[in-house]
Symmetry: D2
Subunit: 316 residues, 4 copies
């Protein structure tokens, strides 16, 4: 990419009807953006929903000019301000968003968002005593594999404090006390996290969150369940899988809804097993599936590639 | 294998205790057999069950001599009878079995069987209107991939008569009539099949067989279910899988017990799918999984590699 | 889809630059088409190639009106001709194509095509003695799984005539004679097939086709190779895989180019194997992979979902 | 397992001939051992090699008595020494081994070993700059997933010292200096490791070890290669896989021999990929495959489940 510029991504969700792609791509072209990739999906071409994910590249100059032409940020910059600074200013980005809302989104009654390459999200990880998913996510963050910042690890047990702190992430011990119970723990977590995080990951948290907590946390919650859902929902799936004699075991990452183990599935994985493997060995295999499935689900979410379509997901 | 001889296979199922392998392998050594492969499994080394599958090679001469030495078939053969003929005679094989029962099996209270390379089993295939599993099994039989003879195709619809007859297999139309219903159909199938077949395959039969039928058919019944059991047991699994938004779909071959879709699982397979695929396309993918999973399950069964251990299987 | 109409698909391949999507989607919107699904890919956003596959739905009325408005087919239809007939006429479709060429394709120097739902392609299958891929493809055609018509089976051996003719497909025995050799056989096949088929499938043909044949056949040629290419290119891959002790075996469907086993890969599959399996058993497993991989590759090709990008493919 | 006792494992490799299993199982029975699991394999029943892996459970008392009966350790223990102590003494174990050698192994000219449950092996890990496999193995050791002790991490770069030391494992920086080159580095590593380790793991070491080093290190060396060997042997496999347009990428763990990337394969894994993934994203996926394949290969090796049969492995 020879010339300087910025990468953004546009997500759209609206009722399907003709002309959406023409309107969106026309807007981006006028704004000087080159579409790098684009995926769309209609749940039903007549009367269904339309989903779009577009990645675009906008040259530095184009953004500045486009916005100036509209006059929308003219007052905000003096002659000595470089276009680079314009873009970085919240104002410039906000202007592009306002134009999209006015020129395209209103007409089609879209839910939409534009996210720029440097808008990293804040992740909270909730754990219990199992360390495998937490260790894996912290390692991936350190390597730069996740386009996000882990800002908090919260646990009902103190065991994994060392893991979090070694990675430079604040650890919060929020026990489920006899007095107050889970409701008390949820209240404490809401104090810590509500408004402070963009996504919550249950990395084997082993506690059931209430519908009230989910409503108030203000961020999507992704859970890893250690079975190939909907098989073996609930507790102790490896033991039940072994008793059942299944030939493949799996793990499922899903958005959490109030109904237990029932939210929209983001990613799943399976591995072949056989009768020789003890329950402990199935857990060995299972842990490897779990951490990879959870990490991929989180990466897909952070990449804005997961769109919820009723009880299921569309993954672009 | 330079010298002429015979391949047999010995299956053992008994309470686990020390000395079983020593006794079995000592017996085979004395009988002049070379063990080609052997697998064993203990569900629990103290107090569990012991399962063994051994393939052995017996030189022609060894069998004849070994048996003669025991005197057990001395009377049965004249001087002009070759040892080859001896072996082929039911008597010679029977003698080896009697010796095994007397010298080994009684001591350990074994369930066991010896099967010789040329003892092919008789298979009945029950179908409804879906042809994919039937066509596949008939093609495999024709190629010699299945160590069995398909002796009957039975259906509640006449549609697949042509497929069966083109493969030279008798087709029986056993409709589920208003009068008599499923009970009448089962009675007719018992007339046709009981005592005449060694294994029954439900190649998408789409009818529920009663416990009474299963008890009286006198042969194991293998079903293909078009989901990754225990997920989506019951009807219409592809539609439900799609609504659920699962990321992998599968098929399960299992022995049939009275409880629907709940018998011991023999084999399973899965494939990755995504939101773009319609229910029809999932069925496309599903049919491919079904025919391969069913064929493998049947081949494993015919190879005597599947042993039922309570509600699950051990597959050697 | 309440109202009557037609499904088409537009494929585009051109140098990437801004405005392509806007131009294409604007054209389709003006023509009254609703985009059902659309995928695009840029090999490199600056200076790379742009690939697009769009499925659209065009109401009957829209097509007729749109075309009439342009005047392009006014002469071609009398007052009594229904718009349905208009569409079916080659003229109407041609008109839409001409407009696309004039209004969009020329500007971006596109390679492109529009294919309508009812434009089925003609497939020739070349085989040798292995029947598994042929049987599978003929069965899928009969079921309607392939959006194509198999118009010829050609073989250098007479063995599979029965299979072809039972499916109602003409069989041509084109032996490789001592006199003339492969060059003679190719000449005969060119007589039979050139200009008569839209795609050629090598369903284990076991002969090497010359670059001259590939140039003159005038249709893409898809081969199934019984290994996970580029591993074990050339002959006898299962034996070599077994000697090598690989833990997974596979099959590869690829477009044929002059260099042996080296053309762009369309689809691959693998299965886990182990040391217990003989070379014959690996072939058993391999045949199942081969027929599924080949069928999927052909289905993807017929769906226009495979685009060649240099030495590799983009599969939408 | 109600009664106290000891688990051991017997590995046998010899020319195949009748009576081996009878002799081995008879010996174990006489010694009071119960066979927990047993797998055997004959590369060819006439004239091939025979491989056996047996896990057995020996009650405390049986071992002591059996050995005393032989008189072989009578002198070594006073009356006050518990049988537990007897077993732990090298003498008692040695005695059982001597008996096996004298009574069974000599007769069949076996290569064999008996390993007791508590005989943990010493592992050295060689790395370069990539941390994923190292971090994973150290984490698995800490969890107790590996039945071994990592005693050294050696690298030609200093970067991963912190990882090793945080896990309590000595780190040795052995650079490849201009003077001395790889030969000098190998000499230094031989000083550090020869005789001190039981297995060497190349966890993306990125240097080629000489045949001389392999001969003198005195321990098997396991490498992870980041491709589905034999495809893409050599450098930069992900880039080449992407250029080739393969639809699955993989990793291969193998024993190292002098010929590069050509030793017996222990384990392989693959994942589906598509054209949308950049070379960096393929590496993301590849790293996950690599660490799991390498960990499984090492676990199989430590479990004595891998037997080398010429250029390939038998994995029980």
């Amino acid at each position: 990419m020879g010339r300087p510029g910025y990468t953004g991504r546009l997500l759209v969700d609206c009722a399907d009807r003709p002309g959406i792609v023409a309107a969106v791509s026309g807007f981006l072209f006028d704004a000087g953006a080159n579409i790098v990739s684009s995926h769309q999906y209609s749940s039903d071409p007549s009367g269904g929903r339309f989903f779009l994910r577009t990645e675009f590249f906008l040259e530095e100059e184009s953004l500045a000019e486009g916005l100036l032409a509209e006059g929308s940020i003219g007052q905000a910059r003096g002659p000595a301000v470089s276009s680079h600074e314009v873009l970085r200013a919240a104002g410039a980005r906000e202007a592009l968003r306002e134009r999209f809302q006015a020129e395209v989104a209103e007409r089609f009654q879209m839910d939409w968002l534009i996210r720029w390459w440097d808008e990293r999200r804040r992740v909270a990880i909730l754990v219990s005593r199992h360390d495998h998913c937490l260790v894996d996510l912290l390692w991936r963050q350190r390597r730069g594999e996740l386009d996000a910042e882990v800002v908090a690890v919260v646990s009902n047990h103190p065991d994994l404090r060392g893991e979090a702190e070694a990675a430079g992430v604040p650890f919060h011990h929020v026990p489920v006390l006899e007095e107050g119970g889970m409701m008390g723990a949820e209240a404490r977590m809401l104090e810590l996290l509500a408004g402070e995080v963009d996504v919550v990951v249950l990395a084997r948290y082993m506690q059931i969150l209430s519908g009230d907590f989910l409503a108030r946390i203000g961020a999507p919650v992704i859970n890893i369940h250690h079975s190939f859902l909907p098989a073996f929902a609930g507790a102790d799936p490896y033991r039940r899988a072994r008793e059942h004699g299944v030939k493949l075991i799996g793990a499922t990452a899903h958005y959490v809804i109030e109904e237990l183990d029932a939210g929209p599935i983001v990613e799943q994985g399976v591995e072949r097993v056989d009768h020789r493997q003890s329950a402990a060995e199935l857990e060995w295999v299972g842990r490897d599936i779990e951490r990879i499935v959870l990490a991929r689900a989180l990466a897909l979410h952070l990449d804005d590639r997961v769109i919820i379509d009723g009880g299921r997901t569309v993954v672009f």
